[in-house]
């Protein structure tokens, strides 16, 4: 959007990241902790894309489509793919722990043996 400075997107990303981090520290339900991690990933994605979009800002005008220009978008594509894999495995682990221990309180999961 015109009229919106890059710093606005970066500030939003920073705030979302911090809120996600707060959730990770604060929460005891592993699923919600997991969701907060997703939130942090998304905050990072937002900054990636903002940098990609505002890349070479001083030049103004049209910018040739070179692949350095696409790096931010590529990073986001791979973050999304890895996040999908991570969620599948992570939720599998949580379900397995729940079946074994009958609890999902993160503070109770201190033993290493199954």
């Amino acid at each position: 959007m015109e009229g919106v400075p890059l710093s606005a997107y970066l500030a939003l990303g920073a705030v979302l990241f911090a809120i996600g981090g707060l959730g990770v520290i604060l929460k005891r339900n592993p699923i919600i902790i997991f969701m907060c991690i997703e939130l942090m990933l998304n905050a990072a994605n937002l900054t990636f894309l903002a940098f990609s979009r505002y890349h070479d800002a001083p030049l103004r005008g049209t910018i040739p489509m070179e692949h350095t220009y696409m790096n931010g978008q590529m990073a986001v594509v791979f973050v999304m793919a890895v996040a999908a894999a991570e969620v599948a495995v992570g939720l599998g682990i949580i379900m397995a722990i729940f079946r074994m221990r009958e609890t999902v309180d993160i503070d109770e999961m201190s033993g290493m043996r199954g």
Partner: protein
């Protein structure tokens, strides 16, 4: 304040409020719902940056599949008493808030400061606004061309990772014995 900035602020307020909702709500389903709202707003923000493919992928991957998976697990576990999970000790809470405030200040001073106020490259027009997007920026064609040419190895590694993820989650889900 331009009209675009007003729209942006409205959307970012929704995003921040829903993010706060994720950690404030006592109920896991409500937290998931707040996160869905947040992801959709982020997708809309991507649209405003001409990133149509990534915006729709955000909605498709995050809200359509990932959050649905979260919701499925929450309902499946049916975490009987969410209030049991909510007893955080007072000290921990204050420490956490303090830490995240420190994080925000750190990011603001170290990243935003240079971008917005100092003489760092791009600072001047970074305040002024967005540069004109090149032709075809953010379309499926440009992203696809980029992935399948310059990033092909990363893509292959990523696909192997996804395959491992599938196999791993099936192994975890199967009851042993």
């Amino acid at each position: 304040m331009s009209s675009q900035l007003v729209v942006f602020s409205a959307m970012s307020i929704v995003a921040v409020l829903s993010a706060v909702g994720v950690i404030v709500s006592r109920n896991a389903v409500r937290a998931a719902l707040a996160l869905v709202v947040n992801f959709i707003v982020l997708g809309v923000l991507y649209f405003t940056m001409n990133l149509e493919l990534l915006g729709i992928s955000q909605v498709l991957v995050y809200t359509g599949l990932i959050m649905m998976l979260f919701l499925f697990c929450i309902l499946l576990l049916n975490l009987g008493a969410p209030q049991m999970l909510e007893e955080t000790s007072g000290l921990k809470r204050y420490v956490a808030v303090l830490l995240s405030l420190v994080l925000i200040v750190l990011v603001l001073t170290q990243v935003l400061g240079p971008v917005a106020f100092s003489g760092a490259p791009g600072s001047e027009s970074a305040l002024a606004g967005i540069p004109t997007a090149p032709d075809g920026y953010g379309t499926a064609k440009s992203v696809g061309t980029e992935i399948f040419t310059n990033w092909i190895y990363a893509l292959e590694i990523c696909s192997v990772l996804l395959l491992l993820g599938i196999v791993g989650s099936i192994l975890l889900a199967k009851r042993r014995g």
